[in-house]
């Protein structure tokens, strides 16, 4: 037995650690594209709907015949937040800004917004979506200042 923070008696449950392997075979061109500096979306060949996040199957017409296309990256910020209280696995990050940007192609993207002072960040501002690989080898994409 041990005592909980409220000093009431408790038992410690058996510990289990899990980190599932997430399949990406159907969206592999997206993850490979990031390494080449491209953010890719899919487009249904049958009905023309564009998907971001990329989807291998079209929920609109149920076709699985999809094209890959590179997004322009030209975005307008529609919503944002500065996250101060971070989740356990983000504790080593400094507080970060997450934004939703609407791209020229009509799809929206959720990503970190970097390279701006906080006071500059407004709904309606322009930003550029960029892909890169982090120093520890993780393919990533962020909104940043337009060139």
């Amino acid at each position: 037995m041990s005592l909980s923070p409220t000093m009431l008696p408790t038992l410690k449950a058996r510990e289990v650690k899990v980190a599932p392997e997430i399949p990406i075979s159907k969206t592999l061109p997206f993850w490979e594209g990031l390494k080449q500096g491209k953010v890719m979306a899919t487009k249904c060949k049958k009905c023309g709907k564009i998907y971001f996040p990329p989807a291998a199957d079209c929920g609109s017409c149920l076709s699985s015949d999809m094209d890959w296309l590179e997004l322009s990256g030209e975005a307008e910020i529609e919503a944002f937040t500065h996250i101060v209280v971070r989740p356990q696995t983000f504790m080593n990050e400094r507080p970060y800004t997450v934004a939703i940007g609407r791209l020229e192609e009509g799809v929206r993207v959720v990503a970190w917004l970097t390279g701006f002072r906080k006071s500059e960040i407004k709904v309606g501002m322009k930003a550029k979506l960029k892909a890169f690989v982090t120093p520890d080898g993780n393919p990533m994409y962020v909104f940043t200042r337009p060139d």
């Binding site: 997430i22 971001f52 101060v84 209280v85 989740p87 356990q88 504790m91 990050e93």
Partner: protein, 390 residues
């Protein structure tokens, strides 16, 4: 479809409940509900349990059967419902459908959550993963305050909503929680205190966010025949029920100033009930974050889109105003044990419609004897709207 009534309701004390297991906590809400209905566990043919955190933030993997066994319900039909923060309403809907369809005559919906057995930052992690893990959490670490904060910045940009408007929601809900003995946070707060509390996910501050809470709630449902059989004196009829889901990816929504799932679920519920929003005497709406309550006013039709801030500024959502909202303290201050919340709303509204608010100061005036519960799972990932009439 048959008519369905709530014939009994119970609710546990909300807060940090390290004194009880999930089954013991559920029992605290189950027993008073059964006594309120004037039935015994043997009369219950179908059990629906709403809870979201099984195996993650509390230890039981299949809690519905643990709970039904503990409450003496073995032998009844059993289901567990998960609809994130609307799991309780999903359980209620399942019990409702079981009776409305003619399958059973008496059913129970039990909502329960144990969220305080793990540390806060791990909870922030689990809940943050509950948007769309792969596309919004894995690389970007979105938290639930973060998701709603994005709605807040969009609403502020479009309608001029201010941080003070958000604070007013918190001040109101803390006021009513201070009058509610089972509420988690019973301290009154001021606008200044809310505005100067630590930033969690800007523009949301500590006092814009609901607490992490343990709690349970139960309602007993019955068919019209069972209402007569058990000679129930004050049945509260379910006259409207709507449900809808939104996208998991926030980025796939049409806009961020409201929740489309609320609009759709509300339209269904109003249509089924044959009422308009201005006929509602009292409402419990999903205020996990202060901006959520303002969006709910608008999406439920209590005011026009963009006029939610005006409603709170004018005090129209207090007792005595146009439409009293969250007079139990809301998720914001009564607490938000996510699987229990939807049923706790129905508990409160049942008591209100029967004129039995435990504290007379919280009893709303009744004109049409109609109440509305609005329970959102995630950021509009799920939504249930339930309309009750005495």
């Amino acid at each position: 479809m048959r008519k369905v009534a709530i014939i009994g309701a119970g609710c546990s004390k909300f807060g940090e409940r390290n004194d009880v297991t999930v089954a013991e906590l559920a029992f605290e809400a189950f027993k008073p509900a059964v006594e309120d209905a004037g039935i015994t566990p043997k009369d219950i043919e179908f059990v629906s349990v709403g809870t979201a955190g099984a195996g993650a933030w509390y230890e039981e993997n299949l809690p519905a059967v643990i709970i039904s066994e503990y409450c003496g319900l073995s032998g009844a039909g059993l289901i567990r419902c998960e609809a994130a923060c609307a799991s309780g309403s999903a359980a209620f809907a399942s019990a409702y459908w079981a009776i409305a369809s003619g399958q059973v005559d008496v059913a129970v919906a039990i909502g329960v959550e144990k969220m305080r057995q793990i540390d806060t930052l791990t909870m922030v992690e689990f809940i943050g993963r509950s948007g769309y893990y792969l596309w919004e959490f894995h690389n970007f670490g979105l938290t639930f305050p973060g998701y709603y904060a994005m709605h807040a910045t969009a609403h502020m940009a479009k309608y001029g909503t201010t941080e003070e408007d958000l604070a007013l929601v918190a001040v109101k809900n803390h006021k009513y929680a201070s009058m509610n003995p089972i509420a988690h946070l019973r301290n009154r707060i001021t606008v200044e205190e809310a505005l100067s509390s630590p930033v969690i996910a800007w523009p949301l501050k500590l006092y814009d966010c609901c607490p992490i809470t343990d709690g349970a709630a139960t309602v007993i449902l019955a068919s019209e025949e069972a209402v007569k059989k058990f000679k129930v004196e004050d049945p509260v009829w379910v006259i409207g029920l709507g449900s809808a889901c939104g996208t998991a990816n926030l980025s796939k929504r049409k806009d961020f100033v409201g929740l489309e799932s609320t609009v759709i679920a509300a339209q269904q519920a109003y249509k089924m009930a044959g009422i308009t929003p201005n006929m509602v005497d009292v409402a419990c709406v999903h205020d996990c974050f202060t901006i959520a309550e303002i969006m709910a006013y608008e999406d439920l039709g209590f005011c026009k889109k963009g006029e939610g801030p005006k409603l709170i500024r004018e005090g129209q959502t207090e007792i005595g105003g146009k439409i009293p909202v969250n007079i139990d303290g809301g998720l914001k201050a009564k607490g938000h044990p996510i699987g229990a919340t939807g049923i706790a709303m129905l508990y409160e509204l049942t008591k209100q419609l029967r004129g039995e608010a435990v504290e007379r100061s919280r009893q709303v005036p009744l004109k049409n004897y109609i109440a509305l519960a609005h329970n959102v799972g995630g950021t509009g990932h799920y939504c249930y709207v339930t309309i009750l009439k005495r």
